[in-house]
Amino acid sequence: MANLSVNLCGVALKNPVIAASGTFGFGREFHELYDIGTLGGVSTKGLTNELRLGNPTPRIAESRGVILNAVGLQNPGVKHFIDYDLDWLKGTGTAVIANVAGKTLEDYQAICETLDGKVDMIELNISCPNVKSGGMAFGIKPETVEEVTRVAKSGLKKTPLMVKLSPNVESIATNALAAQSGGADCVSLINTLTGMAIDIERRKPIIANNTGGVSGAGVKPIAVRMVYEVAQAVKIPVVGMGGITRAEDAIEFLMAGATAVQVGTANFTDPYAMPKIIQGLDAWCDKHGVKNVSELTGTLTLNQR
């Protein structure tokens, strides 16, 4: 039995495996299948100050090895989450990471103030590709990444801040540095890559929103490369995600520099994906004589060219 626990900017996680926002709701449905208290953390469905109904359907499409989604931040609003889901989710024993989004700087500050001290960590969604007003405006340019991070951080006295980065940018490492300058305690990446899938019979995009965020096994090499670049650039911890399906995938991200990982789309393919990844991490560590999973972080060495 390896020690799988990790410390993510002061937050103790039982293991480095976190449910990715948007694929896991607030955890209740998956808890019908297994004890989600065994997970390192749960990043909640993206929360906004007010309830949001999201995009029209269809909201999802499939392409070989990946999926595209455009849910559009449907959520019951942060107050509803606090009143109905937060205590339950905390009670499971997993670390609660509230994923938050907003239209304006004031929105981000307000929602951070609302949640400060109530959750284990905030994940700032500044990169939702599916909603014009979902913070994407802040997530592209390093100047605005830094600004929204600083404003969000000003609303937080107790709870650490993770900033979720978009891959649909000129340089994700530059944006990671901007988040660090703005006061982020850690960064998570990658959010989905913007894509399109076409129904050739109708000559229209399958997804009602026309474009959607691409995720799933097929995006993993892109995500690993970006996590490596960001981990090289910043001093704060990095949480890696993008296509993680098995323990071996998670280990790639850890070696590339991630302290923890998030698992999203794989939960759709196999609802038990995360418990299996945790088990697989333990087995891999044992087999390779790794006593603490945290020893793996950043151990990649590049080939000599």
Partner: protein, 251 residues
Amino acid sequence: MKEYQAVIVENKEIANGICSVTFALPVATKVRAGQFGDIAVGGTHLLRRPIAICKVEENLVTFCYQVKGEGTQRLKEMKVGEETSVLMPLGNGFFVEETEKEVALVGGGVGIFPLISVLREYAGKKTINAYMGFRNKGAVCGLEEFEKADKFVGVTDDGSYGEKMNSVQAFAADLEKGYRPDVVLSCGPLPMLKALKKLVEEKNIPCYVSLEERMGCGIGACLVCVCDLSSGAKARVCKDGPVFNVTEVEL
């Protein structure tokens, strides 16, 4: 809801483009009529395919599906003896109240299969009229199941089998003759459901429809497969549905 490692014991085409696959689960199971399963088809397909459960006998579960895209094509190609993961039963399903004695089933296309599960659960306990619409004669299937109905009317879009009309028109024709069921249960293409909604709301007959939507997780977590409720709220087709009171849902 459970995940089963299920083995295919039969997988065959039962009509043009319509297939029936039967899985053996490790244990006997029970489902409610109108519930569905989410079948992993493997390969490069990350999404499971949500498919209506047509029949359950002990540990044998039969799903019927239309071959529409790569995922259902892959399911069609899966061989007897092949094992895959099936998450089931999912969704709320149809429920007929004790007081509802006369039940009308109105189905179209692959929408007939969840209604066959209703027939299997309620035949002999209720008086059931079944109105089923098919594209053409080649698409007609499930007739041996509809023998269980007290009355069966099969129609086609082109008149190659039964009368040339859709199942809502066939049902409406009987209403004109004075037929009045206690409840209508339906599943089929959206235009059909819209026509049925208009009809039953005019006649003030209780009606429940099973909806179809592209799904993500299949268990209610991802909010991909939502529909609009008349109240202005959204409902999850996979978890809150797929069966909705027709007066409470926007089609």
